[in-house]
């Protein structure tokens, strides 16, 4: 039994190696099939890397030790509202981390301003966030790349690195028009590539009067003493009769915001790549049918010598798989080179504002795309392989 199995393997290997060696004779058709499959992989990886990059931007910087408090019933900061007194109660709740300056809680408000995109010159929505001075310590991952923090009480802003890349006029030293006044850009900050990098920050106390918000806020961001302090913190706020709020972890909040758009982009990507895969499948079928046709006499000779039908089927499948994997690998390399890190921005439908992000060609994505390529190769090889195994030996031996 074992001998028979090894014999079968060695037969398959011999025929497969022979087939692969004859590919240069059929390079036109082989190339067409490989290119078709590479195209599928490029499109699949390209589109899914958008979803991956957006999802990553929305979730990468979300810390489980940071909680977000919104008015009960609101889906996002846009629809939330909290009074000054409520924000004080929230800052005093158990589980909130403290430093020398007091509770690490930042009461924030959130407005949308229009700025021209660098790429198109057209205006797009950019989130302008009014934060407390503690916001930098609450987030914990905000670092200045250039300039300085805004000075409390002044019309100054710091700009996230993603926003600075995507929108014109956000260099340090420039001014932007917000409401009735010009505001100076005094710094550029990074936030681990997270969604905060798409925002512009200023002092909440200055933003409130500029937008006639009186003393109201939309959310409170707090740093917890530890991630597992969240349940107690949440319970303390939601059971407090003076408050009607909902409490979410920052990581969950952004993940939730990204799901709709991410799912949408993934669906589009899979649909487009699926249609292309169908085309590539016919390309592979055509290539393998012609490969088998070109080798009819050789296959018959091998069968006449005593090679079994199984190894012939196996060899055609493996050849098709090899072509598909070559195409898939080329497509994956191309997609990685073309898309990984490509900077862009899109609208976050939960906040109606732009999120800057980079396309992300991740390893799982490449593995998924190579898996598609392999599936196309095997599907495109199966019928030609069965056809090869059914070639009538005696007649095919005499083909010239």
């Amino acid at each position: 039994m074992a001998t028979g199995f090894f014999n079968w393997i060695s037969q398959s290997a011999a025929v497969t190696l022979y087939n692969l060696r004859t590919i240069p004779e059929r390079r036109g058709a082989a190339l067409a099939a490989a290119v078709g499959i590479a195209g599928v992989v490029v499109v699949l990886v390209g589109v899914l890397s958008i979803a991956e990059g957006f999802h990553r931007a929305m979730t990468v910087a979300g810390s489980p030790a940071v909680a977000l408090v919104l008015r009960s019933g609101s889906d996002s900061e846009m629809t939330s509202g909290l009074t000054h007194d409520q924000t004080r109660l929230i800052a005093d709740a158990p589980g909130v981390a403290r430093n020398d300056g007091g509770a690490l809680a930042s009461a924030e408000l959130f407005v949308i301003i229009n700025l021209p995109k660098r790429s198109t010159g057209t205006d797009a929505n950019v989130p302008l966030r009014g934060v407390s001075p503690t916001a930098f310590d609450v987030r914990g991952n905000v670092t200045l790349l250039a300039g300085r923090r805004f000075a409390p009480g002044r019309n100054e802003v710091v700009v996230g690195a993603g926003a600075a890349r995507q929108f014109a006029g956000l260099e340090v030293g420039r001014t932007i028009r917000v409401g009735q006044n010009d505001w100076a850009v005094v710094g550029i900050f990074a936030a681990d590539g997270g969604v905060a990098e798409s925002e512009i920050w200023t002092d909440a106390a200055v933003l409130q009067p500029a937008y006639h918000r009186q003393d109201t806020y939309q959310a409170v961001y707090v740093r917890l003493t530890a991630p597992d302090a969240f349940p107690a913190f949440s319970a303390a706020l939601t059971t407090n009769p003076q408050l009607s709020v909902k409490v979410v972890r920052q990581s969950d909040y952004y993940a939730e915001q990204s799901t709709t758009l991410t799912a949408f982009i993934r669906t589009i990507g899979v649909a487009v790549a699926g249609l292309m895969a169908l085309g590539a499948l016919f390309g592979a079928l055509n290539t393998m049918y012609s490969a088998v046709a070109a080798r009819t006499r050789e296959i018959a000779t091998l069968r006449a010598l005593g090679f079994g039908a199984g190894p012939v089927v196996c060899s055609v499948l493996l050849e098709s798989l090899a072509l598909a994997l070559i195409g898939g690998a080329a497509g994956a390399a191309l997609a990685y080179g073309a898309f990984d890190g490509f900077q862009t921005s899109t609208i976050n439908w939960q906040t109606f504002s732009q999120v800057a992000f980079a396309f992300k060609v991740s390893l799982p994505l490449l593995v998924q795309a190579i898996g598609w390529a392999a599936a196309i190769g095997l599907a495109g090889g199966i019928f030609p392989a069965l056809h090869a195994a059914r070639i009538p030996i005696a007649a095919a031996l005499r083909e010239t």
Partner: protein, 232 residues
């Protein structure tokens, strides 16, 4: 079982019918043939007389519609496709008119092909290949591809491939049909030597009386029937 001196091949009442639509073509009808071990038998006949069909039946490449084909005491007409493939690999060496070498393989790799179906080690395979190529006089052309060899040399590689497993039976389908007279003569001389010196039983289909003259016996096939003498 046949004894070493008994007939190697016994064909009894074999009938082979090809169907083309509603039409039935009786290629072989009630055919009987016995071939002794060590014989060099030439099978002659006009085109369409069923020579190749008979060779295919003997090589286990096809099955009769009726009758029995027994080789070395084994009814090969009753074997399954898989059993036939294994039987061919062990007992039959095939030589083709157009050589049927695999063009992307060197001479020695072509000759090695049937040995891949055996349990021989790589080293043993190489030894067998070298011996077979030496027998056909091509020890110096082992690394050449078929395209780099003359027709006669390609047929020698084909013969080396047929004998490398030391089969019981060599079946040759017009082995000189694609060669000039000189190369053809060399191939026939080689087959004769294999018959006389190595004791190979050979069945050779040919059109060529010059080729059949080299065989120890000639039978004629016409309209599916055998005769010892050429039809008038």
């Amino acid at each position: 079982m046949s004894t070493p001196n008994g007939p190697l091949i016994e064909i009894q009442d074999v009938e082979k019918i090809y169907r083309r639509g509603a039409e039935e073509i009786h290629v072989l009808s009630g055919l009987n043939l016995t071939v002794a071990r060590g014989e060099f038998l030439a099978l002659m006949g006009p085109s369409g007389s069923g020579k190749s069909t008979l060779l295919n039946l003997l090589g286990g490449l096809d099955r009769p519609d009726r009758g029995t084909v027994t080789v070395e005491g084994k009814r090969i007409d009753q074997l399954s496709d898989r059993q036939l493939a294994a039987w061919r690999a062990r007992h039959v060496g095939l030589v083709f008119q157009f050589y049927n070498l695999l063009p992307a393989m060197t001479a020695e790799r072509n000759v090695e092909l049937p040995l891949l179906l055996t349990d021989l080690s790589r080293r043993e395979r190489r030894q067998h290949v070298a011996t077979a190529l030496a027998i056909v006089g091509l020890a110096h052309r082992t690394r050449h591809y078929p395209g780099q060899l003359s027709g006669g040399e390609q047929q020698r590689v084909g013969i080396a491939r047929a004998i490398v497993t030391d089969p019981t039976l060599l079946l040759c389908d017009e082995p000189t049909g694609d060669l000039d007279r000189k190369s053809g003569d060399e191939i026939l001389g080689l087959l004769q030597a294999l018959n006389r010196e190595q004791g190979k039983t050979i069945l050779m289909v040919t059109h060529d009386p010059h080729a059949s003259a080299r065989a120890s016996r000639t039978v004629h096939l016409d309209k599916g029937q055998l005769s010892a003498d050429p039809p008038a």
